[in-house]
């Protein structure tokens, strides 16, 4: 079957949601982790800053998970049938952890200090376990883990947990979560005018950045032997991968440039955040492009899983209308929490 434009648009929408969620969730989970690490340092504002970012955003971030699931089954019902069947166990574990984390994150605002600690541990620890499990969905779709017998699909978890490629992905998920969130929190503390928190997060980014790059190389290395079809296709886009690498280096450089507003601070965090977002965008574009037309290699392509064309058109219209309606809301939200210095600098 040839790939239709409709199916390409559909997979782009889905990929867009995954990308936005990956970035937002990294910041969300990472912020939880950092607020755990700096919880005991009464003198720094680092944990406070992390919480301030986390409080209003987790809810919006969470809607993106739902948006991904809904986009998956409404745009690719055929693929959902297989993925839904094989992902019952990993999917349920993610759901359980997410439920505990979101619940206790919200509860912690209403609890006395001594309980708050325990809650911060739950949110911090689940903050790096959840991304590690979430990301396993990617290597699972590369082939070799899903088996079919009498039209019944099943996942070989034993193989998943012994694959070097899976572990590279997991390592990447952990470090890039920490990296992205450090960068964003550094930017946030820069705006909030918190010198010490800024230095802490800047240092965090400088440590976790190179580690996540290393993990990305491990991924490519293991991909080559475990899912060669994908590796070969990714390598066809090597120029974009190089630009992506360049963006990473630019972000690193930005952290050493002189701060535009405060002489005594080193680095331009906003520039670094933008460079890294572009870097992730390019790298995941190459990955996604190479993955096509397969949703789960080799059985399910975007065509075999695609929804009915009539339904697709109706859905597509709601995407456009929904975006137009929601855009002002997102803008208002961003203005109130990410830009309004009254909020960011508020004492509590």
């Amino acid at each position: 079957m040839d790939v239709t434009t409709d199916a390409l648009i559909a997979i782009t929408i889905l990929w867009g949601f995954v990308f936005i969620y990956a970035v937002m969730a990294s910041m969300d989970f990472g912020a939880g982790f950092w607020s755990m690490i700096y919880m005991n340092k009464e003198q720094t504002k680092a944990a406070n800053i992390a919480n301030k970012y986390l409080s209003p955003t987790w809810e919006v971030t969470n809607v993106f998970i739902v948006a991904i699931v809904v986009a998956l089954f409404s745009l690719f019902p055929g693929a959902t049938f297989v993925l839904g069947t094989v992902l019952l166990i990993p999917g349920s574990i993610i759901l359980l952890l997410l439920a505990l984390r979101s619940g206790f994150l919200v509860f912690s605002h209403s609890l006395p200090k001594k309980y708050r600690k325990a809650v911060t541990y739950i949110s911090g620890i689940s903050g790096f376990i959840i991304p590690s499990i979430l990301i396993m969905v990617l290597p699972i779709t590369h082939g070799g883990f899903i088996f079919q017998e009498n039209n019944v699909y099943s996942l070989d978890l034993g193989l998943v947990f012994t694959s070097a490629n899976v572990y590279s992905f997991v390592g990447f998920a952990i470090f890039s979560t920490l990296f992205l969130s450090s960068l964003l929190l550094a930017d946030f503390s820069n705006v909030a005018n918190e010198d010490e928190a800024y230095n802490i997060y800047r240092r965090g980014a400088l440590i976790t950045g190179p580690l996540s790059l290393m993990m990305a190389f491990f991924i490519m290395l293991t991909l080559r032997s475990e899912a060669n079809w994908l590796f070969t296709k990714m390598m066809q886009n090597i120029p974009i991968l190089l630009v992506s690498l360049l963006m990473f280096l630019l972000a690193g450089l930005a952290l050493f440039l002189p701060n535009s507003r405060f002489k005594h601070r080193k680095g331009r965090p906003r520039l670094a955040v933008i460079a890294i977002t572009i870097q992730y965008f390019l790298a995941s574009y190459v990955y996604g492009h190479a993955h096509l037309p397969y949703m789960a290699y080799p059985d399910i392509t975007i065509m075999s899983g695609f929804t009915d064309p009539v339904t697709f058109r109706a859905l597509f219209i709601t995407y456009i209308v929904g975006f137009i309606i929601l855009f002002p809301g997102f803008y208002f939200f961003w203005k109130l929490f990410m830009k309004d210095k009254r909020y960011i600098r508020q004492e509590d």
Binding site: P56, E59, V60, N62, V63, V66, A67, V69, V70, A71, F73, S74, L75, F76, P77, T80, F81, V82, G84, T85, L87, L88, I89, G91, S92, L95, L96, L98, A99, L100, R101, S102, G103, F104, V106, F107, H109, S110, L111, P112, V152, S154, L155, T307, D308, V310, T311, A314, L315, G322, I325, L326, G329, F332, F333, L336, F337, D340, R342, Y343
Partner: protein, 443 residues
């Protein structure tokens, strides 16, 4: 137990837990909005304090509503992959539009909770209006999928293949409007009665403290009036829901009423237990001719009995009890509100007698119970079909096994979250007393 039974139990438990938080998430924002509006009109600071405290409670509840909803949505695909394959092709519009409703609610709820102090009164009210709209729209849209399962439309099954798909026709399926209205009205009812229950509880404890008593009395009265109005509307609309069953799912209505023989002038059975062997209801009070009248607005309406349907397509017979429970609670709630009006407006009493407050204590839990009854009735009464006369539940269940273990794990997590909610709410409101809020507004 088979995987099918386990999957049903797991999904039913998830939904039964989610619906508690979800209904309150629709109902309490309406109460917050009303309190804000009354405050702007009367400038009585008590109402500002109510809005603030209910918002706090709602923010805690959302912490469970959202993750359990996320579980519900994902579990649909994990437990019933065959069902979601059909839904994806035919009925994905409501899910998709629901995402926008979630965004609206999530954005504006965060704004209201974390930025209320930076908003003007007008913006604050607009923000709460968006929260109410977002929450009610979420409920309406997800209920639409449930409505579709009962009265499918907009596609055909030819040899197991889905054809002739018309997504908007599926969206506007015959029971959409009535069912969605019922769910929203009953959620508004529940939010109001839960508020009233808490107020009644506090009034019982603060009889000596006039200031606090007055505060809670205002909350109680608001809750009862709003709850009374909506429970009346719920009952009227519930009557329409029953007529829809008569038209579209006659075996469900027969099961709900324990009616075996098709007849005109059919009696309405209240209470009792249906016995399939003797084909009668044991221990019920029968109101002659009433069922025929309810179903078709005239006594000679012919109501179909269970014996007209193949035995393996009967719904489970205990749904009679669930349906009764819902209707009896609905009637009680209306009565509660009328009683409060009588005391306040006719007898013009400032204090309610203790027995009455004890009665009101039960309003909230009872309305939540009615919601559980109603849903289990609606979902279990649809069995063996997942999409009525199109697709059987046994055909769509996951084939991956180990559902038993998952069921236990999810149940433990729900238990933890449920208990934590209660502890957190009690702790917070004990620490931040109303006296303190009153003092803050006075200074």
């Amino acid at each position: 137990m088979t995987d099918l039974v386990l999957a049903r139990s797991l999904f039913g438990t998830t939904m039964g837990f989610h619906i508690i938080y979800a209904s309150l998430g629709v109902g309490i924002p309406l109460m917050i909005l009303l309190a804000e509006l009354i405050f702007q009109k009367t400038k009585d600071p008590h109402y500002a304090i109510m809005a603030k405290r209910w918002t706090k409670a709602q923010a805690v509840l959302l912490g469970v509503a959202i993750p359990t909803g996320t579980i519900a949505g994902t579990q649909l695909a994990l437990l019933w992959p065959g069902f979601m394959e059909v839904i994806g092709k035919v009925m994905s519009l409501p899910f998709q539009i629901e995402i926008y409703a979630f965004f609206i609610e999530a954005l504006f709820m965060s704004i209201y909770v974390y930025a209320a102090d930076r908003l003007s009164p007008a913006m604050r009210i607009i923000t709460v209006i968006f929260v109410v709209i977002g929450a009610a729209a979420s409920a309406i849209l997800i209920t639409n999928v449930h409505a579709f399962e009962g009265t499918p439309a907009g596609f055909q099954m030819v040899n197991g293949e889905i054809t002739n798909i018309e997504p908007w026709k599926a969206f506007f399926n015959p029971s959409f409007v009535v069912t969605a209205t019922h769910v929203v009205l009953s959620a508004f009812t529940t939010g109001a009665f839960v508020i009233a229950s808490v107020a009644a509880f506090k009034m019982l404890k603060t009889r000596k403290n006039e200031k606090l008593y007055t505060f809670h009395r205002k909350a109680l009265f608001l809750g009862l009036i709003v709850g009374g109005l909506f429970s009346f509307l719920t009952a009227l609309n519930g009557h329409e829901s029953a007529q829809l069953l008569y038209e579209y799912q006659p075996e469900k209505l027969a099961g709900a009423e324990g009616l075996f023989e098709t007849q005109s002038h059919a009696p309405l059975a209240i209470g009792g237990f249906t016995d399939a062997n003797t084909q009668e209801i044991k221990g019920a009070i029968e109101i002659p001719w009433a069922l025929s009248f309810l179903a078709g607005n005239s006594f000679d309406t012919v109501v179909k009995g269970l014996n007209d349907f193949p035995r393996d397509e009967w719904p489970p017979l205990f749904i009679h009890t669930l349906f009764n429970g819902m209707v009896i609670i609905g009637s009680l709630l209306i009565f509660f509100a009328v009683l409060a009006l009588f005391y306040r407006k006719i007898l013009k009493r400032e204090h309610y007698p203790k027995w009455l407050l004890v009665l009101y204590l039960f309003g909230g839990p009872l309305s939540l119970l009615a919601i559980e009854f109603g849903w289990i009735f609606a979902c279990t009464g649809r069995q063996p079909w997942v999409i009525y006369r199109m697709l059987k539940t046994s055909e769509v269940v996951t084939s991956s096994g180990s559902i038993g273990t998952l069921f236990i794990l999810f149940a433990i997590v729900y238990l933890i979250l449920g208990i934590a909610t209660v502890i957190v709410l009690t702790y917070y409101f004990r620490k931040h007393s109303i006296e303190e809020d009153l003092r803050l507004t006075e200074s």
